[in-house]
């Protein structure tokens, strides 16, 4: 059910992808538990080795630089990092100014225009709505 190339990318690209998510999560200066869960889930989804995840978690206290990450990552993967960055940023209920700044930086690097960026934000919103429906089914 891998619906994008992240599952098959190189170990180094997986680390860079996850580092971008860490940078987004720490952008507003406070890391909420929901953001941490989202990063853990996304690292699990692409099967990053458990020991490597420890190194990535450590980045939360010393976030990397976006410019360096954009140089390191396979250019074809930037748009997927952008999509998942939008997910992580939305997870606490709102997009912070500093998160949006980084998302725009990713969009520019991926050559994604404003209309497509809006579509990505809409996709995130529809995912949040979809996920919440499950709680009604479960009567929680």
């Amino acid at each position: 059910m891998f619906t994008d190339p992240l599952g098959d990318c190189s170990p180094n690209d997986k680390i860079t992808y996850a580092s971008i998510l860490v940078l987004i999560a720490s952008a507003d200066g406070e890391l909420v538990r929901e953001e941490f869960c989202a990063i853990e889930a996304l690292m699990g989804r692409i099967l990053i080795h458990p020991e490597v995840r420890v190194d990535i978690r450590n980045l939360l206290t010393d976030p990397p630089d976006m410019d360096e990450l954009l140089i390191a990552i396979d250019p074809a993967l930037i748009k997927f990092a952008l999509r998942d960055a939008a997910l992580v940023a939305a997870i606490d209920g709102e997009y912070d100014e500093s998160e949006l700044e980084l998302i725009n930086q990713l969009a520019t690097a991926a050559e994604i225009d404003d209309d497509t960026l809006k579509e990505i934000f809409d996709w995130v919103s529809s995912g949040l709505a979809w996920h919440n429906q499950s709680l009604a089914i479960l009567e929680i």
Binding site: M1, F2, T3, D4, G7, R33, E34, F36, C37, A38, I39, E40, A41, L42, M43, G44, R45, I46, L47, P50, A76, K79, F80, R83, D84, L87, I91, D92, E111, I112, T116, E119, I120, W123, S126, G127, L128, W130, H131, Q133, S134, L135, I137, L138, E139, I140
Partner: protein
């Protein structure tokens, strides 16, 4: 990867949740990469300690019984585990009879409506369509 309530559960309930997922992952005696990816994704949201994660990965190799998983498990953890078991069972594209039977058993154990598993399966189909849409949206850019 979406906001959830799993991380708000007490630690022992999160462990029980993950243990039930480990059981479910091995119901059909196969563990595809897709199922493993979904399992690891859900395990991530449970925020278990490294030792607990190790124990859960061990449970994948030697699965516990369903009865021991359900014993003393809280309602919310059990219901969330049922939902995520459906997601995991469907990750390889099909839910076989054995998996379906176990899902119904879990649903009945937690007192959910008779059609709960069917509704969760439809919800899962919608979710995979949403994930595919996220890929197609970006993939279209390179065409």
């Amino acid at each position: 990867m979406l906001p959830d309530t799993v991380h708000k559960l007490p630690r022992e309930e999160r462990f029980a949740y993950a243990r039930l997922l480990a059981f479910m992952a091995r119901v059909d005696n196969e563990l595809s990469v897709d199922e493993m990816a979904m399992f690891e994704q859900r395990l991530g949201t449970a925020l278990l300690s490294p030792k607990q994660r190790e124990m859960i990965r061990g449970a994948l190799k030697t699965p516990p019984s369903l009865e021991s998983c359900l014993e003393n498990m809280g309602d919310e953890a059990g219901r969330l585990a049922l939902r995520d078991s459906v997601l995991m069972a469907a990750a390889d594209g099909t839910v076989d009879e054995d998996e379906r039977e176990v899902l119904e058993e879990i649903s009945a154990h937690f007192g959910l409506a008779d059609d709960a598993v069917d509704r969760l399966l439809r919800w899962t189909v919608d979710g995979y369509a949403w994930m595919a849409a996220g890929y197609e949206l970006l993939n279209d850019l390179s065409e």
